[in-house]
Symmetry: C2
Subunit: 433 residues, 2 copies
Amino acid sequence: MMSSPGAGVRVALLGCGTVGSQVARILIEQADDLRARVGRPLALVGVATRTERERPGVDPALLTTDAAALVARDDIDLIIELMGGIHPTLGLLTDALASGKSVVTANKALLAQHGAQLFEAAESAGVDIYYEAAVAGAIPIIRPLRESLVGDEVTAVKGIVNGTTNYILDQMHTTGADYADALAEAQALGYAEADPTADVEGEDAAAKAAILASLAFHTRVSLADVDREGISGVTSDDIATAEQLGCVVKLLADCSVSADGSIAVGVHPTLVPATHPLAGIRGAFNAVFVESRNAGQLMFMGPGAGGSPTASAVLGDVVTAARNRVRGVAGPGESAYTAPGITDPGKVASRHHLGMVVRDEPGVLSRVAAALARRQVSIQAVRQVQAPEQDAHARLGITTHIAPDADVRAVVAELEGSDDVRGTIRVLRVEGE
Amino acid sequence: MMSSPGAGVRVALLGCGTVGSQVARILIEQADDLRARVGRPLALVGVATRTERERPGVDPALLTTDAAALVARDDIDLIIELMGGIHPTLGLLTDALASGKSVVTANKALLAQHGAQLFEAAESAGVDIYYEAAVAGAIPIIRPLRESLVGDEVTAVKGIVNGTTNYILDQMHTTGADYADALAEAQALGYAEADPTADVEGEDAAAKAAILASLAFHTRVSLADVDREGISGVTSDDIATAEQLGCVVKLLADCSVSADGSIAVGVHPTLVPATHPLAGIRGAFNAVFVESRNAGQLMFMGPGAGGSPTASAVLGDVVTAARNRVRGVAGPGESAYTAPGITDPGKVASRHHLGMVVRDEPGVLSRVAAALARRQVSIQAVRQVQAPEQDAHARLGITTHIAPDADVRAVVAELEGSDDVRGTIRVLRVEGE
């Protein structure tokens, strides 16, 4: 475990794309500072890539397409994993940890699905696995949750953890663009990928939510536990509704402790009041808002993606893991000692906004209100406007008090089946109480 | 160094005031969680207080007024120092570290003046000294700077790190109160002490600036290195000027790398543009804004003071230090390997705003502009308004481009000695470029 005295800490890189190439650059450009901070040189001794193409700034002699052979080398102290994917990455990192190598990874999908296996392998071998870059890019959030708040009781973590969707929603608000146009612009600018599914359907945010909830609540939450809705269904009407209510639409990763002690973890487009600190997070920025029993409300913000910011987070972990190796120790591991269970998504309670078109005649509002009352869903505010394009119809917007999702959905189904409501009812969560 | 197998980690508390009593409460109320996170029980075995008065929730048998005897006990693993002050605290903590005890402290003044001595004592003994609570209360900023950003190159840290002064300035903006009234209100609400000197004269913020600069730039900056101006001279006119310029007045702790590589560390009332993330930090909240080469811009915000939030930061350090002891290791220490020197305060460059009353006649503006030009101070914007109360005079507001403080002051002295300017010129720094 301890690197031999006087020798450098020997590092191998798996993956040399947007982030990996920046990590390689910093290892070379800032080598003197890194050596001073670690106490030994950090030596990059191998780089595994998918193709044999050369990489600018990387010694061609270091390149290999055989990641497994690189991981199996016995002269390597630390593996930096930026290749992504589940297979063969999981096997490679498990082998690396088992053979006593420390691991730094930014692979949120892998951690959200197989974190337990990796954390246990690290614990058994007495080595580190660090992953600050897996959530919210350059923003330090993993270490604050794992160490700074470890003496407190975290009650909620709410985050804007996907820059692509935040950019798209921000554009819809500021330029009036519809979803398709805002997505196309994000793709043109490189903020969204050609296949944007993982971002816009909330998969990326859900993996990060699982990681945040695991740390915040000292348990193991996996991707499959996360209730997820993306932004592809967000319309210009939703944006207009938000603005009328003094809110903005954000894709919120929301992790909290339910009244029964179980853990609610979801990703949903949410109406966030303009007065909430998360409402001001613009463009491709990320932010994580933490509530705890003693510390109160904290917020962390910064660039959520990009090669250079993500590389900063990777290098912070590399230096910390390297310092530990020089001293022959491992840092504090996970602390997953609780098993509170996951809240049934239908029982997750929040405010909701129901937008519907109703017949404009006496008695309708009374019947809608009665349907809500029968399910104990209490009304916080009602707005009714004449729908200009639809004679004899009006638009009704109802904000509920906090109520379980299933109860609200049951009322919605009942109302949609009635003669009073035309078409479907748009349901959006509303942050706050 | 390693606590004996199976035994708990034995903790003593020096000081049981606002923060100490909350630390004692949490050690008792959250004992089960803390035990699970550390892997052993945390046992509070002694509490040193100034008087023999009993403390609610603390077993009277634990109380002592003899702090030195408590520190000298050989059955204690970890000292939590919340008594404050320089003497006898420095001696007590030096003795504690030398005898192999880990230390957690919130004592910013002590660290800013004698940090080097304490860090060296910890390093020699192979034990931890942690101090997350010393800067910005509950906000995790020490650990992110020391570990998360350790692979990056931090170029600036700007913080609102004193809640008392932020509350007073915020009140002056929102209610139009003058300084004396806003201070009196802060005192009535318990945000300011009866003797507010340490807060309003910037001493508290300066100690925090020294700590932040030391960590950010991997060097040793002490309180005496910090150029400091408090808020007691901030007038309603300054507030009005700020608002006319689209700014707010904030007491900013500003740590940055100068062009020659030296470190500029200062605390000054500063005009912060409303578009800057720090401008939105209201009331007694704190925030720290970090710029680094790779990560870009990050911001951390939260409650900057108060018993319970500060206790959260203390307990995070206690759990981390206790985990380290259970495993027989120490965490990463300071990394003060650079000695870039401190920028001469006169050479610190920033934008400035000069507010003055001038004779309202032809040629005056030309002469004022010429005086600035002779010192190479370039003008970014000029506003001139008739001063209604003063016949034949006008108010002139000049915002400069970035210029060294001494050059601006020299121009100010020259203008104040001329017939064109009536009275003194008010000089305020302006954040940004």
